[in-house]
């Protein structure tokens, strides 16, 4: 009951947030300069044609005629019926564009998140159990390495090393291969570097939280009690410390990783040429593809909502003390 009401409120709020974000984006887009339009007009002017006519044709083609609010209402109306609009810069429906790009993004972000979560938690726990030792510093260094190195630089260097010099992996991301045979070894090979780059960059935040949480439990009485029961250190680590650590960790996993991945994905996808969501939205913004920009803006909102819900469920599952009645 409590959880349901809570969920309903969360979803309702997400709707409001999405609306606000969409509106702001829509208005900003309208005021931002359009390099494409500028090019068309210059082209027309350069050869003596009427630049205004060219601009009108362009506006017509891109659906940019009429007052702002009218266009916005129309967009919202379409959205309500499930029509996310038509992407002019890709000649396909926005929803199709997003659904096409999404699997490519998931293909490397999911393993990257898994990698960074496992490594982050492992290093965090290790570091907490061995605070202020040299191995702690070494482990921490490993965790901080990825976040300290600019992703794009790292990606380029890795490509030069492993793809060009050693030839172990291909330089180019083969989208066709990824789409038709996502589980093949060849696909895994081309995903190794992006996963590594993104994964290492996300370790630090997970590790930091895991470490902070674990530090609270490492010396907790129940850990001592478990030890007094005769539980091994490994058991203590995996059962007694890890579990309560996971509870608050799940809250940051969604939020922080979402942030890291959404922002880092621009860079990783550009460097590795992966046609995922990051590039989709980057190019949409660059080319002022209004419908696509709005669509790609909605995606993180939806992911955040979904992620928050999942996280709450995980929380409820992991920590019996949580009660949603009063939240």
């Amino acid at each position: 009951m409590g959880l349901k009401w809570y969920t309903a409120r969360r979803v309702a709020w997400a709707g409001v947030a999405a609306f606000v974000i969409l509106t702001v984006t829509f208005v900003l887009l309208d005021y931002a300069p359009d390099p494409e339009l500028a090019r068309i007009q210059f082209r027309a002017a350069a050869t003596g044609a009427d630049a205004e006519t060219a601009a009108e044709a362009y506006a017509e083609r891109r659906g940019l005629t009429g007052p702002l609010w009218e266009r916005y209402l129309e967009y919202l109306g379409n959205l309500a019926t499930g029509d996310w609009g038509w992407s002019d810069t890709r000649s396909q429906p926005v929803l199709t564009a997003i659904l096409t790009a999404l699997p490519y993004s998931l293909m490397y972000t999911v393993p990257a998140v898994a990698l960074s979560t496992v490594l982050g938690i492992a290093i965090g726990l290790y570091s907490a159990f061995n605070q202020y030792t040299t191995t702690d510093y070494a482990a921490t260094f490993v965790a901080f390495f990825g976040v300290s190195i600019p992703n794009f630089w790292f990606g380029i260097v890795l490509l030069l090393l492993f793809a060009v010099q050693l030839g172990w992996v291909p330089v180019l991301f083969d989208a066709e291969l990824a789409r038709t045979r996502p589980l093949s070894l060849a696909n895994a090979r081309q995903l190794v570097l992006p996963v590594f780059v993104l994964g290492t960059s996300a370790i630090a935040s997970t590790m930091r939280y895991a470490r902070a949480e674990a530090l609270e439990y490492v010396r907790a009485a129940f850990v001592k009690a478990a030890r007094a029961k005769g539980a091994s250190e490994w058991r203590i680590l995996t059962r007694h410390v890890l579990r309560p650590t996971l509870v608050p960790l799940s809250t940051i996993l969604v939020g922080d990783l979402l942030g890291i991945i959404l922002s880092a994905s621009y860079l990783v996808e550009v460097v590795f040429g992966i046609p995922g969501l990051g590039r989709l939205s980057l190019e949409a913004i660059r080319r002022q593809d209004t419908a696509l920009v709005l669509g790609t803006t909605l995606v993180p909102v939806l992911v955040a909502v979904l992620g928050n819900l999942l996280q709450d469920l995980a929380y409820a599952l992991l920590d019996p003390r949580i009660d949603y009645g009063d939240r």
Partner: protein, 373 residues
């Protein structure tokens, strides 16, 4: 050590010259500085001392539960059932922990893992040492809960710790300690965190368990009332060392060490908590003393009977008190006190007489009775 040598017969637990240190930024702290005591099957020994006297560290050093690092057991033996735990391997210790020596901690709420059900934690305790099926373990767990007085154990077993009251939680913790059918139960302030009304229930539970199963009980407490109620023998600690040791009768009736006397004197009626604040009032010790490489008696700065001799050497060894021969013949169980006035060159009367003059009532009489040598 001029302490009496090891007990002639093998006691269940024989601790000798145990020394535990903590390495901190500010230097090394010797939290337990060469304590010795014995504990027999079915016997209840109380480790008494104010906050910070090292009694908890001492209790946790037995099975090396102290955090290492920064803690470190630097010397001494912990002979348990013929084996020296101080030098045992980690695996050997694990086999002993929970199975032979069980612990009950001060705050049950914290000693239970909040994210697991009571049953899970009980089953863990059972299955860690006994290779039994899950169903059998569960049956045993319910039985254990029943034994510690949890009503409706078959239902409560699936509860989470936060769903139980403090007293119930401590009962669960005790049940968990009993899961391995230990020979020795180390209970560290098991009642401190509980309501006054619950305290006695839990104490009685411990007593009844002990009498039913005949296990040894090492009770760490600062509550002299508890000591008087349950202890067979008492070990009084101050600043990491044993100040006085003897049967509960000897120590309460004929307190010998000035510290013990001060403790008891501070309490009208003698059955009130020696709270940390009260302890400070008594001792008002210099907080910096802990890291000092101690010379002389640790209590001397607060001791009304301090003499020059107190300043020299180490903490004085445990000297037999005048009544030692009358109460217990063997060294390990003798009534002893670490005070120069009880040494070969000392005069116990310095302590006892002054107490006599300052005190009134029963204790004065009893002291007077024991002050002849």
């Amino acid at each position: 050590m001029t302490d009496p040598p090891a007990a002639p017969r093998d006691s269940l637990l024989h601790v000798e010259d145990l020394r535990t240190r903590f390495h901190t930024d500010a230097g090394t702290v010797t939290a337990v500085d060469g304590i010795s005591f014995d504990l027999d099957d079915g016997e209840t020994v109380c480790l008494v001392g104010e906050s910070g006297s090292g009694k908890t560290v001492a209790a946790e050093s037995l099975t090396r539960l102290i955090d290492d690092p920064p803690g470190e057991i630097v010397s001494g033996t912990v002979r348990f059932d013929g084996r020296d735990l101080a030098t045992a391997s980690e695996a050997e210790l694990r086999a002993v922990r929970g199975d032979r020596i069980a612990h009950v901690f001060q705050n049950p709420q914290r000693a239970l893992n909040p994210v697991y059900s009571v049953g899970w934690q009980l089953l863990e305790a059972i299955q860690l040492h006994d290779d039994v099926s899950k169903a059998d373990a569960r049956a045993r767990a319910i039985d254990l809960l029943d034994r510690v007085g949890i009503p409706d154990p078959a239902t409560r077993i699936d509860d989470y710790p936060h769903e139980l009251s403090g007293g119930m939680q401590q009962r669960v913790a005790i049940a968990m300690a009993l899961a391995g059918e230990p020979d020795l139960l180390v209970a560290d302030e098991p009642t401190t965190a509980l309501d006054v009304t619950i305290q006695s229930q839990v104490l009685r539970l411990l007593e009844s368990i002990q009498s039913a199963s005949g296990l040894g009980l090492l009770l760490v407490t600062h509550d002299l009332g508890v000591v008087a109620e349950v202890a067979d023998r008492v070990v009084v600690m101050y600043d990491g060392t044993v100040m006085e040791r003897g049967s509960v009768h000897d120590v309460f009736e004929r307190p010998s060490h000035p510290y013990t006397r001060a403790l008891l004197d501070a309490i009208p009626g003698r059955d009130v908590d020696l709270t940390p604040t009260a302890a400070r009032d008594v001792a008002d010790r210099d907080p910096s003393s802990a890291t000092d490489s101690t010379t002389g008696c640790r209590f001397r700065s607060r001791c009304p009977h301090a003499v020059d001799a107190c300043r020299e050497g180490d903490q004085p060894p445990l000297h037999p008190t005048p009544d030692a021969t009358t109460s217990a013949p063997d060294g390990a169980r003798a009534h002893v006190a670490a005070c120069v006035h009880f040494g070969p060159d000392g005069d116990p009367d310095v302590v006892v007489d002054s107490a006599k003059s300052a005190d009134s009532g029963a204790s004065a009489d009893e002291s007077a009775g024991g002050d002849r040598r």
